[in-house]
């Protein structure tokens, strides 16, 4: 583990006081390796290391008899801070909730839409699930089935090719059905596909969501910075949902995405079932990234 590696770096120091430049640079090299292995973006690692170096040259480490452990604590605390600090308890959303889900192909948007409907229902809201994915084969059937599993109303327009028309009609349907939340699922798209990025911006302008959630796969590597940045700049995300955290990827993408967008990670997908959505805990994520 990183802790063991750092203890090795500092093992000859005990009782001899001052840390050398070499101790610190060896420690930083181990930390860099661990974070890159965990898929944290190299720019984020660079920035992170400079913060850790600054803190490591401070009194706690210099005067410690276990400088290795002190550095591990600094790294862990700095990670927690960067990931958002205290875990935020998700409250029952008040008023009329309008959620728009966006993200790359296969990230888990449709499944997450079902999970959000389930979560809202458990929090005494009445959600409507809407499919605006007019592109993927059987996408609408997929969400319809999930809606049935959660027992919430579902809406789409079957032969409609234009997602904007579906989003507009969904608002009317919500009023008819007496729901107080609408979750709109969109087709996966690449941030470099200008036409599709324009399309989702137009859906946003029409639907006027109060939450735009970027669904990202926890196993994403360095590309996390590129896609998250592009979606945030074009569509404007209000929060992130990290999916497939039940895998064994270290999840460095969480740090990269938070760093580049500054937006909070609101939920974690921890399985394929519709009740497998939980709040995001920065300290748990920090431990996971550090391996």
């Amino acid at each position: 583990t990183l802790g063991q590696k750092l203890n090795k770096v500092f093992k000859d120091l005990r009782g001899y006081g001052k840390l050398s430049e070499k101790n610190i640079s060896d420690a930083l090299r181990e930390i860099r390796m661990a974070l890159l292995e965990a898929d944290v973006h190299f720019s984020v690692v660079k920035d992170f290391l400079s913060k850790v170096k600054e803190k490591s040259l401070g009194q706690e480490v210099l005067n410690s008899i276990t400088p290795g452990q002190q550095v591990v604590k600094i790294v862990h605390d700095e990670l927690v801070e960067l990931l958002g600090g205290e875990a935020v308890e998700l409250e029952r959303p008040k008023g009329f909730v309008k959620i728009l889900l966006v993200g790359l192909q296969g990230a888990g948007k449709t499944t997450t839409a079902g999970k959000l409907a389930s979560w809202l229902k458990r929090n005494k809201k009445r959600p409507l699930l809407v499919s605006c994915d007019t592109q993927r084969p059987a996408a609408r059937d997929q969400l319809r089935i999930l809606a049935e599993q959660v027992d919430v109303p579902f809406f789409t327009i079957n032969d409609e090719k234009d997602p904007k028309k579906i989003a507009a009609a969904a608002i009317d349907r919500a009023t008819e059905e007496g729901v107080d939340a609408i979750i709109v699922d969109t087709a996966g798209r690449l941030h470099v596909d200008e036409e599709l990025m324009d399309e989702v911006v137009q859906v946003r302008d029409l639907f006027q969501p109060n939450e735009i959630l970027f669904v990202a796969d926890a196993m994403t590597g360095q590309d996390a910075v590129q896609s998250a940045k592009a979606f945030n700049e074009s569509v404007g995300t209000t929060g992130i949902i990290l999916s497939k955290l039940d895998g064994d990827s270290r999840g460095g993408a969480a740090l990269s995405i938070r760093w580049i967008t500054g937006k909070p990670i609101k939920f974690c997908g921890i399985g394929e079932k519709l009740d497998q959505l939980e709040a995001f805990y920065p300290d748990r994520m920090a431990s996971r990234i550090l391996g």
Binding site: E37, H41, L190, G221, D223, D246, R250
Partner: protein, 277 residues
């Protein structure tokens, strides 16, 4: 970053390191490579020389004798498509089916994802577009039973190729990996040597976990190849370098879009060129 044709400086090596890291080659591949270059390259090597040296160096890490897909001479060629959730398996099954059809082969699909909502509907849409049959059973059916039915049908009709789509699953879920092994065993019992190809579909955006995916799926199923999907994005899939080098599993195809034609044979040369872009 470089104006091209200039002399390489140590800080330029840092830029090259960043290019390789951002391509997901992974620090355990990149850092030693850069350190080696830093200590061994002649002072002020030409930038273009360094780049072509790097290209050759990385290309040499790929499997050298690359065979395309195995062909069974004694009955249908059976192919199993596997991988973690959402990587593009179902879409890739369709692309591979068209690839074979274009060679004049008869193709049948097996809808072994009996778990995920609308998985069989999704494969059926592709089968209809291709004008081929997708064997399926009801939701929640045993995937191995679907595979068995499909292989029986392919054998009786003399179909050239049978491609089995399977449900996405995380490699750290042992019960799901066991399910996949059972499908493989059932195919092998019914036709000796089946499945002739077990292909892992890997999403190009995957980071270092991609190596663990390949390692685990390979350990359980003995992979015959990898297909990298979504290379039309900005991710470079550099993790395949260590998959080829350390696991000796060849990348056979790449997916470069959502339509059925967005499919091509893998070329290490092209791939490495893109990597160093």
């Amino acid at each position: 970053i470089f104006s091209g044709g200039g002399k390489i400086a140590p800080e330029d090596l840092d830029s090259i390191e960043e290019i390789l890291l951002s391509a997901d080659l992974g620090p355990s591949t990149v850092i030693p490579l850069i350190d080696h270059l830093r200590d061994n390259s002649p002072k002020g090597i030409e930038y273009n020389e360094l780049l072509s040296y790097l290209e050759k160096e990385i290309e040499s890490l790929f499997q050298q004798d690359r065979k395309s897909l195995i062909q069974n001479s004694a009955g249908p060629t059976v192919i199993m498509m596997v991988g973690v959730n959402g990587t593009g398996k179902t879409t890739t099954v369709a692309k591979l089916a068209q690839y074979y059809k274009q060679q004049g082969k008869s193709v049948m699909l097996a809808s072994c994802d009996t778990f995920r909502a609308a998985a069989t509907d999704q494969l059926q849409v592709w089968a209809d577009r291709l004008g081929i049959e997708a064997i399926q059973q009801g939701a929640g059916a045993d995937p191995a039973a679907v595979a068995f039915d499909a292989l029986k049908a392919a054998l009786s009709r003399g179909t050239d190729v049978l491609i089995c789509d399977t449900a996405g699953r995380l490699h750290n879920k042992s019960n799901l990996m066991e399910e996949l092994k059972k499908i493989s065993r059932v195919l092998g019992k019914e036709l000796e040597g089946a499945p002739h190809e077990t292909l892992l579909v890997l999403d190009a955006v995957t980071g270092q976990n991609g190596f663990i995916q390949a390692e685990q799926f390979h350990k359980e199923l003995n992979l015959s190849g990898v297909i990298v999907s979504k290379l039309d994005g900005t991710a470079k899939a550099g993790v395949v370098v260590s998959i080829e080098k350390d696991l000796q599993i060849p990348v056979k195809f790449v997916g470069v879009g959502e339509s059925i034609d967005d499919f091509a044979l893998f070329s290490p040369k092209e791939f490495v060129k893109e990597l160093l872009e």
